[in-house]
């Protein structure tokens, strides 16, 4: 490997020997193509014409009135596929094609990354297999159906709690046996090097656009940028645009599940300890013996005991702050945005909104907060309905 893939001491590539050649090949290809003129032009065109970039920055005035400061939404929910995930799958998919790979595999939790991979599999005519925990297959069945319609094979993973961690385990195992012709399209800014670098690169369009839009539309930078954190791809994407703007506070919001005190949550950065999972040294929810914990969250996309390495480093250096939002507060925030703006946010993104709601009374009316609305909530309607039946 050319680079160590470290953020401070975090990250690295802790994988079995058999996967090293595949990671080396991926690293080499990424650095060969990511600034190549042809590659960049092709990706820019796909971003615009296929995905719908740039995504708008929207001043949510009625929502803002409710919380008492200015809230702007970065509308990744309006992209094709309904989430930021398409930025990454277009980028990696194009890379796979340039590498001559004919098959894609991916893991998925909420099904958004699986769907975004299935779309690109169809677009590029590549055979696609999606690994998804059986619990998630059940709670995100609409996305499962969409993936199958795109021609992808969805493989239900039984291990563990049948969630994202187990899907990654099986995708890695499958990759081990098929490293030659198969491209593993990893869905978040985590896992072994070079994935955290690659995923951040392709998601950084969110932050680049948002910064420019702030200057154009508001005439200044925001006071705060907030994003939900599962593995951390939408958060690192938007944070990257503001990293050098030291006065802009960066806040990542994790899944507080049933509450941190219950132990039933997925708040890795807030409550975890350093360990090694899925190829990287990161904060990890684990027991005293080093076994990885089961997690709990209303949102499948955040239901993961690890996190991307750069976020671990941003936490330790203090450049970013991390908080957790409980399921109940998330549902409140989901309802509030829906009622005040007519926008259904994904339950993942609703974590960022729940944090915004907790700031009510703490920020002045002229202060500006940008929230990354990472995805839309259509996939979550039945989950919300089961917790909060609509009264007519």
């Amino acid at each position: 490997m050319k680079y160590k893939g470290r953020f401070g001491d975090y990250g690295g590539f802790y994988v079995p020997e058999v996967l090293i050649p595949a990671l080396e090949e991926l690293e080499e290809a990424f650095y060969r193509f990511h600034e190549d003129e042809g590659f960049v032009a092709e990706l820019a065109q796909l971003f615009r014409d296929y995905a719908g970039r740039p995504s708008p920055l929207y001043h949510a005035k009625r929502f803002s009135e409710h919380v008492g400061f200015k809230v702007y939404l970065k509308r990744e929910d309006l992209l094709h596929g309904g989430a930021h995930k398409v930025n990454n799958t277009l980028g990696q998919g194009l890379l796979a094609r340039h590498m001559g790979k004919t098959r894609l595999i991916a893991e998925t939790g909420a099904g958004q990354h699986g769907l975004a991979t299935a779309m690109i599999g169809a677009l590029f005519g590549m055979q696609t297999k999606i690994f998804m925990g059986v619990t998630d297959v059940e709670r995100q069945s609409v996305n499962v159906h969409k993936m199958r319609l795109c021609g992808a094979e969805v493989i239900g993973v039984e291990g563990g709690t049948g969630t994202l961690k187990d899907a990654i385990n099986d995708a890695l195992r499958y990759w081990t046996a098929h490293v030659g012709d198969t491209f593993y399209l990893f869905g978040t800014a985590g896992g072994p090097h070079p994935y955290p670098v690659i995923v951040k690169h392709f998601q950084s369009c969110i932050g680049t656009e948002a910064r420019r839009q702030c200057l154009d539309q508001i005439g200044r930078l925001p006071d705060m940028v907030v994003a939900c954190v599962g593995g951390g791809s939408n958060a690192i994407g938007i944070f990257s645009g503001f990293m050098d703007d030291r006065d802009v506070r960066l806040v990542g919001v994790e899944a507080g599940g049933e509450g941190l005190s219950t132990g039933r949550h997925a708040a890795t950065l807030v409550a975890g300890q350093v360990g090694i999972l899925h190829g990287a040294k990161v904060y990890l929810l684990q027991d005293e013996h080093g076994q990885v914990c089961d997690t709990e969250s209303i949102s499948a996309g955040l239901d993961y005991p690890g996190v991307g390495p750069e976020h671990c480093w941003l936490k330790d250096t203090g450049r970013a702050e991390y908080a957790a939002a409980d399921d109940e507060d998330v549902l409140d925030a989901f309802e509030l945005l829906t009622r005040t703006e007519g926008i259904l946010p994904a339950l993942e993104s609703s974590h960022a909104l729940a944090y915004i709601c907790s700031l009510k009374g703490k920020l002045g009316p002229e202060q500006v907060v940008v929230v990354n609305l990472s995805g839309r909530g259509d996939k979550d309607v039945s989950i919300v309905e089961s917790h909060r039946p609509v009264q007519q």
Binding site: M1, G12, F13, Y14, V15, P16, E17, V18, I20, P21, G159, G160, K165, N169, L172, R173, T176, A177, H178, V179, G180, V274, G275, I276, L277, H278, G279, K281, L284, Q286, E288, H289, G290, Q291, V292
Partner: protein, 273 residues
């Protein structure tokens, strides 16, 4: 304490490869697991490869994943694994290679992990998800604890990496014969012979072959290819799994199978001395 070099040089002079069964410590529970390991020793195991169960074994197929779950459900953890090793060593002084995932080592503290397991009687530690690139994190603490190092070579490992791996290995090279995770396979990979041959040209460090070896004739073929040891994992673990309600038959099946493997290895025309 018996060392790898004693065992492997002894076997080289007999022109025979080592039989190395693999078990998950504590599968299906502490006591039965100990009886299983003792049975394997009695059936002629030359070295033992023992795994500490982990919640997320990404290098393992379904058979060993299920063994990990059985062992963890029965309460196995790093501390109890130490106690298990001590009991095995009290039964017989046989070299033991430990195989586990890095988070278990890191959580316990690498230096303390290596010295505690060395004191319990372990000869080497192989960390499944730590490649030669990060060997510095374990080589020094392992050496100062008195442990040998074991690293993996796979069919897709480049020649310059093989050289590096050989230079940092003091125990044996764990040669993975297939691209893929652990699990029984119907036929032996045809990459084995070439891979063992290549390694033998590059290094004098003992070369043991594992992953997918599930029949006495596979073991014989690996020995004939010139390997110093034959590691058999999933197949034996499946003999535990298939007999969870009948301990007597479990032990008998394992004994019969390993006796056949031992005979097949003994009859193989081992090309080296």
């Amino acid at each position: 304490m018996k060392t790898y070099s004693e065992v492997f040089s002894g076997l080289r002079s007999q022109k025979r490869a080592a039989m190395i069964p693999f078990f998950v410590i504590g599968d299906p529970d502490f006591d039965v697991s100990l009886a299983v390991v003792e049975t394997a020793i009695d059936a002629g195991a030359d070295v033992l490869e023992l795994g500490i169960p982990f919640s997320d074994p990404i290098a393992d197929g379904p058979t060993i994943q299920r063994a990990d779950i059985r062992a963890m459900n029965a309460g196995m953890n790093v501390g109890r694994a130490l106690e298990f090793i001590r009991k095995v060593k009290a039964y017989r002084d046989i070299p033991i290679g430990l195989l586990m995932y890095y988070n278990l080592v890191s959580r316990y503290g690498a230096s303390r992990f290596f010295s505690d397991f060395h004191q319990a009687g372990v000869n080497s530690v192989l960390v499944a998800d730590l490649s030669i690139d990060d060997a510095d994190e374990i080589v020094a603490p392992a050496a100062s604890a008195g442990l040998d190092t074991v690293f993996m070579v796979t069919p897709n490992t480049a020649a310059d990496r093989i050289g590096l791996i050989a230079s940092r290995t003091t125990g044996f090279i764990y040669t993975v014969s297939v691209l893929g995770v652990t699990g029984s396979r119907e036929s032996l990979s045809d990459a084995v012979e070439g891979l063992v041959g290549r390694l033998k040209q590059l290094t004098d460090v003992p070369v043991c072959v594992g992953f997918g070896i599930s029949k006495p004739e596979h073991a014989a073929a690996v020995a004939e290819a010139g390997a110093d040891g034959v590691i058999i994992g999933s197949k034996i673990v499946s003999l535990i799994e298939n007999n969870l309600n009948d301990e007597e038959k479990m032990l008998a099946d394992i004994s019969t199978f390993l006796t056949e493997v031992k005979a097949a290895i003994g009859n193989a025309a081992h090309p080296r001395g």
